[in-house]
């Protein structure tokens, strides 16, 4: 330790540069081919027969989905069983998340009353997507040759489209339940608009209902896909460049990006839940 303290401050950058220079000179490791798009091809881990057009094979996407479901259920059961008046660490963390979902998302967007009705769906979607996104960052051995690889279940358009369809169906259900089928369709017409514009707005509203479906699903899907593609490229670029210098720099970058991806995972779950809440409450509430 004393020896380290004796080195003057100006020497540290020189040492660092020298180390980088040595790394630059060292011959690189094994050359390997890497194609990011291969990471997103779903090979069946367990082969199952097809039923009609539906392939029932279990891919790594399905496994990640199961992992997420198990984690959500386990956490809920564990915390529910051991509820204490003086909470432990886990309980405090999950209570914080619950409060975010209950008061930060459902409570802040919806009116009093309807937030109680719709919180189970919105909170469920929030927790499920959050855990799905976070589980996607854990490498599991379900790659092509059983190597470690990560894959977010929400980085698949089928999963996110299903989630968005839930929101879409619940939105229509909430509107029809509240106003009746005729009243719900009538609420799309703005009575104060001039006649030609009125029909135009009506058509635009129908189109926008479907575009919500697209944007809700594609946003989550593209975010997770882009994040995983960037992470994959950063982790594997050292193999392609065959240089220890680039490997050191890129690994530092990939750790930073990994932390950023954790942030993105939380933000995307939050945005999905809050937009679901906005859509459902827009169907329920009357525009004044």
């Amino acid at each position: 330790m004393k020896l380290l303290k004796r080195i003057p401050l100006w020497a540290w950058p020189v040492i660092a540069l020298a180390a980088l220079a040595v790394l630059f000179v060292l011959p690189g490791g094994v050359k390997a081919n890497f194609n990011v798009s291969n990471e997103f091809v779903l090979q069946p881990v367990i082969k199952l027969p097809k039923i009609g057009p539906v392939d029932l094979s279990i891919t790594k996407g399905v496994i990640y989905l199961w992992v997420a479901v198990v984690v959500v259920c386990l956490f809920a059961a564990l915390v529910n069983r051991g509820l204490k008046a003086r909470p432990g660490r886990l309980q405090v963390a999950l209570e914080g998340l619950y409060e975010l979902a209950r008061y930060g998302i459902a409570g802040s967007v919806m009116k009093e009353g309807s937030d109680v009705t719709w919180f189970p769906y919105i909170g469920g979607a929030f927790f499920f997507i959050l855990v799905c996104n976070l589980c996607g960052l854990i490498p599991l051995p379900f790659g092509e040759r059983h190597q470690l690889s990560f894959y977010a279940a929400t980085g698949n358009l089928n999963v996110t489209l299903t989630l968005a369809l839930c929101t879409f169906v619940f939105t229509q259900y909430a509107g029809i339940h509240k106003k009746g089928a005729v009243g719900y369709v009538k609420s799309w017409i703005i009575p104060s608009a001039p006649p030609v514009l009125k029909q135009f707005i009506f058509v635009m509203h129908i189109i926008s209902e479907f575009f919500r479906l697209v944007s809700l699903s594609v946003r989550l899907f593209a975010n997770m896909l882009a994040g995983h593609a960037i992470l994959g490229v950063f982790f594997a670029m050292a193999l392609v460049f065959q240089s220890y210098l680039i490997a050191v720099v890129l690994q530092a970058g990939s750790v930073t990006l990994y932390l950023f991806e954790i942030f993105i995972a939380a933000i995307q779950a939050f945005i999905f839940a809050i937009l679901s809440a906005v859509y459902v409450s827009s169907a329920i509430e009357d525009e004044e």
Binding site: S108, S215, V218, A222, N223, A226, I271, L275
Partner: protein
């Protein structure tokens, strides 16, 4: 220019130009949200919620460009 080069160029241009507009939009959106939080810190929670709604909607535009460029790269033969 052969078809493959055109495809790659198109994919790059799609994501590059497609991120341009949403980037400006996000900047002005977050900027004004922070400004209003600085002005009225007691409304922080509400402003943040609305900011995230806006971010989600603006961000979707950039992601459409991303999906288009992915389609150009991997789906278009």
């Amino acid at each position: 220019m052969d078809a493959h080069a055109a495809k790659l160029l198109g994919a790059g241009l799609a994501i590059g130009l497609g991120v341009f507009g949403p980037g400006i939009g996000l900047g002005s959106m977050v900027g004004s949200a922070l400004e209003s939080i600085a002005r009225q810190p007691e409304l922080r929670g509400e402003i943040r919620t609305n900011m995230f709604i806006g971010i989600g909607i603006i961000e979707a535009l950039a992601l459409y460009a991303f999906v288009v460029s992915l389609i150009l790269l991997f789906v278009v033969k």
